[in-house]
């Protein structure tokens, strides 16, 4: 479905954090994501997981290498063009707007403002309140609400490839289970190739295939059992200060 061929991503001098020298974030990475499979992408922070996801969506341009979607070279396509081909992306930190409502975003995503259609979509997410549609997508929304909106806009597109970057950020532990179920259900119903970037055990357990990215390369690919020794090795967490409460206990950093 998605093929990465010798993909590299180098941060230009002016954007790099290590004193101006270019930094290679993704190093000559090749991989084939198969249709209808659920991938859990994990690994230490700074390892390149999010960058890899953004390269697939076209948010970052690759420095070298090629990306294919159903055999078609999409390396030079824009975000918009990739979106129109059926790739969708859930941002870790969702954009907040002024004056734009959930209904506006959902209508754009679904390509219709027909209320019945929109209600069908939110019902798939387990949002029962129609009033929720008219919530402004602004900074007043809670972490859980904004995440639901982010998910809804992806599901509304019935994508062929759905990429979720840390979908559990900012939500409570009890919401994670239903979210995993939702992604699995959507994958089954639409044969969506699903990629979830996450540290969360719940997503990794749900995955058909776990990919561990470290130092810009694939350090492991296979089932979760096989990944565990490496993950435990990495469990000396350098991010304990930004981790919060219960979700930390469930995470493999």
């Amino acid at each position: 479905m998605i093929e990465l061929k010798n993909v590299s991503f180098v941060v230009p001098d002016e954007e790099s954090t290590n004193g101006g020298a270019p930094k290679e974030i993704i190093k000559n990475l090749s991989f084939i994501f198969e249709e209808g499979k659920f991938y859990g992408i994990t690994g230490p922070n700074g390892g390149g997981k999010t960058t890899l996801a953004k390269l697939i969506m076209g948010i970052h341009p690759v420095t070298s290498g090629k990306i294919f979607f159903k055999g078609e070279d999409i390396t030079d396509l824009s975000i918009t063009e990739r979106a129109r081909k059926g790739i969708a992306y859930g941002f870790q930190h969702s954009a907040r707007f002024k004056g734009t409502t959930f209904r506006d975003l959902l209508s754009i995503a679904a390509g219709t403002d027909n209320e019945d259609e929109l209600i069908k979509i939110i019902a798939r997410l387990g949002i029962c309140s129609i009033d929720f549609l008219d919530n402004p997508v602004n900074s007043k929304l809670s972490g859980g609400e904004i995440k639901k909106i982010e998910l809804a806009t992806i599901i509304a597109r019935n994508p062929k490839v759905a990429i979720y970057d840390e979908p559990d950020t900012g939500i409570d532990l009890w919401t994670i289970g239903p979210m995993v179920e939702l992604l699995k259900r959507e994958k089954e119903a639409f044969n969506t190739t699903t990629m979830v970037v996450s540290h969360n055990k719940a997503f990794l357990e749900a995955a058909d295939d776990v990919i561990l990215i470290r130092g810009g390369k694939i350090a492991y690919e296979g089932d979760l059992e096989g990944a565990k020794p490496i993950l435990e090795d990495l469990s000396v967490c350098g991010f304990a200060d930004v981790c919060e409460g219960e979700s930390y206990a469930e995470c493999y950093r």
Binding site: I79, A83, A95
Partner: protein
């Protein structure tokens, strides 16, 4: 009679497809084009002959009055003084607005000075749109002034919109808010090319538990310039909030100068202000939903000015 340009302007400023129902006063090129009064709403020319007095009887509810002004005469600079007396316990909507069509190299302008006296426990919604059209090169100038006096328990909501074509706008809003009364002003201004818009707001919270909220949304395109000033002064236990956001596009420039003055120890005043380009994460999000760059910009601006 209304010609095609008049009709277009009326539609833009007052959402009118023709002559409205209910009370109205339509002014065209400095002269009265038509007027209708209702049982509860009286409109008459003021003593000086330079404007109208609109009197709304106490207890009038669910009625509206349209008072659009249209201008299409080269070189005309129209000035009017309108007074609104909104009776106690009434609930009315006033739809004003000015449309300028400029077809020559001569400038055209309108200065409307609107004074509102809103009686006890009355509610008023005031909707004002300003637009300018036409192929002419003359400057289109609109300098509106609104003065609002709110008696105890009164509520006024004012939507002031200028979304294009106006070359120069100098707006003044003044408000005096008594006990238990509230004033909400929402201003939306979009400028382009070499247009300039300035808005000066002086709001006085003078009564206990009075409230004021002023929201400004600016989009500054091309080489245009917008300045926004607010003085929010509290003289009693009250609440006041200023929110001003500007989106800068192209080479536009913008100044926002909010001032809070608490002259009473129980006053609660807040403000938030931001100026900047369209946030990149907003653009990325909409593009990832299939919009191209221009479509994404338009949707963000539309929402912002909605």
């Amino acid at each position: 009679m209304l010609n095609a340009i008049d009709k277009e302007l009326l539609k833009e400023v007052a959402d009118l497809e023709g002559i409205p129902k209910g009370a109205y006063n339509i002014r065209k090129n400095g002269e009265l084009l038509g007027r209708e009064v209702s049982a509860n709403i009286n409109i008459e020319t003021n003593e000086a002959g330079n404007g109208i007095v609109i009197r709304i009887k106490p207890g009038t509810v669910n009625e509206s009055v349209h008072i659009p002004v249209i201008l299409s005469k080269a070189g005309l600079h129209d000035v009017v003084y309108n007074t609104f007396e909104v009776g106690e316990n009434s609930d009315v909507t006033i739809i004003a607005g000015c449309g300028i069509h400029c077809g020559s190299s001569q400038s055209e302008g309108h200065s409307g000075i609107h004074e509102f006296r809103i009686g006890k426990n009355a509610r008023m919604k005031y909707v004002e749109k300003h637009v300018a059209t036409g192929e002419g090169t003359g400057k289109r100038i609109l300098n509106p002034t609104t003065k609002v006096f709110l008696e105890e328990g009164a509520h006024a909501e004012m939507e002031l919109t200028q979304l294009g074509g106006v070359d120069e706008a100098k707006r003044v809003n003044e408000g005096e808010i008594k006990a238990g009364a509230s004033l909400l002003i929402t201003e939306r201004v979009m400028t382009d090319k070499n247009q300039e818009a300035e808005s000066k707001n002086e709001l006085l919270l003078i009564g206990e538990n009075s409230r004021a909220n002023i929201v400004s949304r600016s989009v500054v395109k091309g080489d245009s310039k917008q300045d926004f000033y607010v003085n929010l002064e509290a003289r009693a236990k009250c609440y006041g909030h200023i929110e001003c956001d500007a989106i800068i596009m192209d080479r536009g420039i913008s100044q926002t100068i909010p001032a809070l003055k608490a002259l009473h120890s129980d006053a609660e005043l807040t403000h938030e202000a931001s100026i900047g380009k369209i946030a990149n994460d907003q653009l990325m999000k909409l593009m990832s939903l299939g919009l191209d760059y221009d479509e994404a910009v338009n949707r963000i601006i539309q929402g912002f000015l909605k």
